[in-house]
């Protein structure tokens, strides 16, 4: 079965979470989640531990019940359908291959449950193994394979029944860095070729930003923002999103009029709504901080981290505020640790938050 054949037979679905709520005792895991996943889209659910992302996925898979709200797949409420009839393939964090079955039997398991004949299911399982690049491992048992290989087999198993939705529950978190990088490219390639609607749960922002068509950031069971990775990074809707996605420094600022603040001695327009009361901080990304060597400058370089093409400097202001700034590595040599520098922000609207 080539990806083209699979893509032809695959049916991508629209998934909608409507006012989904789930509590565990006094803990609210999902607090009225509203979210739509478009057909053929890879949507990453991103957030810190306990934000409800895995709960949402498990409710969609049928492994968890909900208190109220709806989960619609192509307009049909699936919350009353048992897990084994939901038509959603899932890849778990802990591989979850059946230890007593070989790779090919693992992949063919779902087809066996459906009553597909032995010859046919083995042929299809073999084709899926080729799809994930492991045809030579067909007769190996899970304990004879590496973590990355096991996860590929788990992916093939999830795709075997040609599900309408593919659910990935932190599938890369148990793998080492290099395998993780390869596998995430592999998953993305397959997802795009098959055009299957995919929900990908992760707490790794880099993973979410690099793989997903859109990223939904969750916090305490609520959706903070759902947007394309570039938009999420450049125009975060809330301070939480701004600080959770990428690196942010907080710089104290003063109100300087309607929709304007004064920071580092200059006035800047505020991006979005400005809190009506209270002291404010400007949120700024390291690549947006401008530094120039100056013996009388207000910023003192306190540390430098080499990141390859750029070097991340941490500078300290007189009031103790620490700000991170990314400079091209060649330029950063002019600002060694202990040197002073002038500091400024680009002349564009800034994001502010309460102190």
């Amino acid at each position: 079965m080539s990806t083209a054949t699979l893509a032809k037979t695959a049916t991508s679905a629209t998934v909608e979470f409507r006012a989904l709520r789930r509590t565990f005792g006094a803990t609210t895991a999902l607090d009225g989640l509203d979210l739509t996943v478009n057909p053929g889209e890879l949507l990453a659910l991103l957030g810190p531990s306990g934000c409800g992302k895995t709960t949402a996925l498990r409710i969609l898979a049928g492994f968890e019940s909900h208190d109220s709200g709806q989960v619609l797949v192509d307009g049909e409420d699936v919350t009353r359908i048992p897990a084994h009839k939901r038509d959603a393939g899932m890849v778990f964090q802990s591989y979850s291959l059946f230890p007593h079955l070989t790779a090919i039997d693992n992949v063919a398991f779902g087809l066996r449950m459906r009553g597909t004949g032995k010859a046919q299911r083995r042929r299809r399982a073999q084709e899926l193994l080729e799809l994930v690049g492991l045809p030579q491992r067909a007769e190996h048992y899970p304990h004879q394979m590496s973590g990355g290989q096991q996860q590929r087999i788990a992916l093939a198993r999830a795709l075997a029944l040609q599900p309408r939705v593919l659910l990935l529950d932190e599938p890369l978190s148990a793998l080492d860095a290099k395998v993780r990088l390869n596998l995430r490219e592999e998953i993305r390639r397959l997802q795009q070729e098959l055009g299957i609607t995919t929900l990908f749960v992760t707490h790794d922002q880099e993973e979410a930003l690099s793989m997903a068509d859109r990223v939904a950031v969750l916090r305490a069971g609520r959706l903070e923002q759902c947007a394309a990775p570039s938009e999420l990074y450049a125009r975060p809707a809330t301070a939480f999103v701004a600080e959770f996605v990428g690196t942010m420094s907080r710089i104290p600022c003063e109100r300087a009029g309607e929709g304007t603040v004064s920071v580092l001695g200059r006035r800047h327009a505020v991006d979005g709504a400005m809190p009506a009361t209270g002291d404010l901080h400007v949120l700024v990304r390291p690549e947006n901080v401008l530094l120039a060597p100056s013996p009388q400058g207000p910023a003192l370089v306190v540390s430098a981290s080499f990141l390859g093409a750029v070097t991340r400097l941490t500078v300290r202001l007189a009031d103790g505020t620490e700000i991170k700034a990314d400079l091209p590595t060649e330029g950063a040599t002019a600002l060694p640790v202990g040197s002073a520098a002038d500091i400024a922000l680009p002349d564009r609207p800034v994001l502010v938050d309460r102190r």
Binding site: P82, H84, S96, H100, M113, Q144, R157
Partner: protein
């Protein structure tokens, strides 16, 4: 360092030798006693076993009791343990305490309790269908009351064996993975969980079998004659034959243990060669 290793080897050898003497000398003495004849060596004690009155009856009774005990025990324990792991993990300590409780009840006390119930029951249940139940479970041909006693006695051993097996597999995730692949609850358990508990099921069965083969107190006090009681009664009249039977039962136990180990190794070998 080399000196330390050689000293450790000497100690290891000494401990092994002592343990070997401790186990092998009584066994060798038993074998020698069972074949010692006035004319040299003879196997009359072994050849006469099959024709000895009560041998086959007691052996079959014991094997039958063991088989039923194993089945009842596994039917009780396996679903309960899987259900607790999947549905109510908080109840695990409760189940553990309940299952290991028989360890602190001596067989004599357990049997005394059973006798009390058996005496009390018919008086109170004379006019109810339960009276026939009391009669039925005490039939000499197949005393189910012994199965009840054996199930209680084997409960801690079987629980430990199964618990070790369940700890080795991520039951919840495997069931979820199976259900995600279209398996209903029962199929998920039968197609995924039980095959991965094969070793634990064999261990629990073997321990139960070994316990039933050797249990004497309950059967003797309740007045039945399974294999262990028969050996004891034969020992009073035919000492050589009773020792021969003991040696034979030891061999049977070893064979069962080897079969268990072979069954466990079979899969390992299968996976290694693949």
């Amino acid at each position: 360092m080399a000196q330390l290793i050689s000293r450790l080897r000497v100690w290891r050898g000494a401990v092994l030798l002592l343990a070997g003497i401790y186990f092998l000398v009584p066994m060798a003495a038993s074998v020698w006693f069972s074949i010692d004849d006035v004319n040299g060596i003879g196997f009359d004690a072994y050849t006469g076993l099959l024709s000895a009155p009560g041998f086959t009856d007691s052996l079959w009774l014991t094997l039958g009791l063991a088989a039923v005990t194993v089945v009842v025990l596994l039917l009780l324990l396996v679903p309960a343990m899987i259900a607790v792991r999947l549905g109510s993990p908080r109840l695990r300590p409760v189940l553990e305490v309940v299952c290991t409780l028989p360890l602190v009840v001596p067989p004599v006390a357990l049997t005394a309790g059973l006798i009390g119930v058996l005496r009390w029951g018919p008086d109170y249940l004379m006019d109810t269908p339960f009276f026939q139940t009391f009669v039925f479970i005490q039939q000499p041909e197949f005393p189910l009351v012994l199965v009840i006693a054996y199930v209680l006695m084997a409960l801690p051993l079987a629980y430990r064996a199964l618990d070790a097996g369940l700890r080795a597999v991520d039951v919840r995730t495997l069931v979820e993975a199976a259900r995600n692949c279209g398996a209903s609850w029962p199929r998920a358990v039968f197609a995924v969980i039980l095959p991965n508990l094969r070793g634990a099921l064999l261990n629990a069965s073997f321990l139960t079998l070994a316990l039933v083969l050797g249990e004497f107190t309950a059967a003797s006090i309740l007045g039945y004659e399974p294999f262990s009681v028969w050996i004891y009664s034969v020992g009073n009249s035919q000492g050589q034959m009773s020792v021969a039977v003991s040696v034979l039962s030891l061999l049977i136990t070893w064979v069962l243990l080897l079969l268990l180990a072979a069954a466990g190794r079979e899969r390992h070998h299968k996976t290694a060669t693949s």
